[in-house]
């Protein structure tokens, strides 16, 4: 049996747990993440503050009349349990809560915004957007930004094991500065354009998210710059090499696409 309590109670309980106390009642309480329906700017800002405790946040701007929004909503609902305790999911009805749309500069639906807790400021940092109901881009960003729900750095005994895991994930893995929709350098933007142009599916890791990974991977790969593109744990190269391989017509084959 599952008991339901107001969210402030969960918050208090989390605080108790952090002090090392375990309430008997805790064993009966299961923290269930639900899609948060945001109905005001104040509520939205509270949500971002809540996520600022090391969580990710995905906000889906939708409208009742919008058919693609239903597909996006269904897909996100499917991720709730996988990212339980790691990522908050919220939906904003763009017709009803216009001030939130203005605050985030969102002008169409569906529009999905991805946030991450900035390690530098302990605030929610907007790091990626998906404009429109592109479900493949939605999935790419979820996996790239938040992993599979269980593969955070803390789950690995040391950095090298973590880097080995990150670089060996299935398919094309690109270590970039920023994200495809919000690149922080020209090379990242140009690399992503090559992938999109050739229809190459990939996941990414934003090295801005972790100084440890950013500096560690350069040593691990003996490659001094970003982007770095991997297949099956093997470094293919950076933007220059991908560009050269594209010109010679070899890129898709080398990326096993």
């Amino acid at each position: 049996m599952v008991f339901f309590f107001p969210s402030f109670f969960f918050h208090n309980h989390d605080r108790e747990l952090s002090c090392g106390k375990v309430s008997k009642a805790f064993i009966y309480i299961k923290k269930i993440h639900k899609m948060r329906r945001v109905s005001s700017l104040k509520e939205y800002n509270s949500l971002k503050e809540e996520a600022g405790n090391g969580l990710g946040l995905v906000v889906h701007f939708s409208a009742s009349w919008c058919e693609p929004c239903k597909n996006v909503g269904s897909m996100l609902e499917g991720y709730l349990s996988q990212y339980n305790q790691k990522v908050l999911f919220a939906e904003v009805d763009a017709d009803l809560v216009t001030n939130v749309c203005e605050a985030e500069n969102v002008e169409c639906v569906p529009f999905i915004v991805f946030f991450r807790t900035s390690s530098r400021e302990r605030a929610q940092e907007r790091v990626a957007d998906v404009v429109g109901g592109k479900l493949d881009h939605l999935e790419m960003n979820l996996v790239s930004l938040y992993g599979n729900g269980h593969d955070t750095r803390e789950s690995f005994p040391d950095l090298n094991e973590y880097l080995k895991y990150l670089t060996s994930r299935k398919g094309v893995v690109a270590f970039i500065t920023g994200t495809p929709s919000r690149p922080r350098c020209g090379f990242t933007g140009r690399l992503v354009e090559i992938f999109y142009e050739l229809g190459i599916k990939f996941i990414y890791y934003d090295v801005w998210a972790s100084d440890e990974v950013c500096e560690g991977l350069k040593k691990y790969s003996e490659w001094p710059t970003y982007p770095q593109v991997y297949v099956d744990g093997e470094l293919i190269g950076g933007y220059d090499i991908c560009s050269q391989l594209k010109e010679s017509g070899e890129l898709k084959a080398i990326l096993k696409h």
């Binding site: 003996e222 490659w223 470094l235 190269g237 933007y239 090499i241 050269q244």
Partner: protein, 87 residues
């Protein structure tokens, strides 16, 4: 120290070219071109290296040889673009 070093020394295209030409691992070198794409600020370079040392090597290994030759310079510049060719 790195900061002082960076302030004191501006990397020039000629420095990078000389380093590549002097590198044993890149012999026999056929050609090298280094262009300062940052308008002389020494912060971004376009580099092309042609060497038989690249023969039979995948591009990533070719680039690694050049990275190795320039390992003293790479931390001092903002970025560079590299093209390698066998001939």
């Amino acid at each position: 120290m790195l900061r002082a070093s960076r302030l004191w020394k501006t990397i020039r295209a000629a420095d990078i070219e000389a380093k590549i030409r002097a590198s044993d691992i890149l012999q026999p070198l056929q050609d090298v071109k280094v262009v300062d794409a940052s308008g002389g600020c020494g912060s971004f370079f376009n580099i092309t290296v042609v060497s038989h040392a690249f023969r039979g090597k995948p591009l990533v290994q070719q680039h690694r040889l050049v990275n190795e030759a320039l390992k003293g310079e790479i931390p001092l510049i903002h970025g560079f673009s590299l093209t390698t060719k066998v001939e």
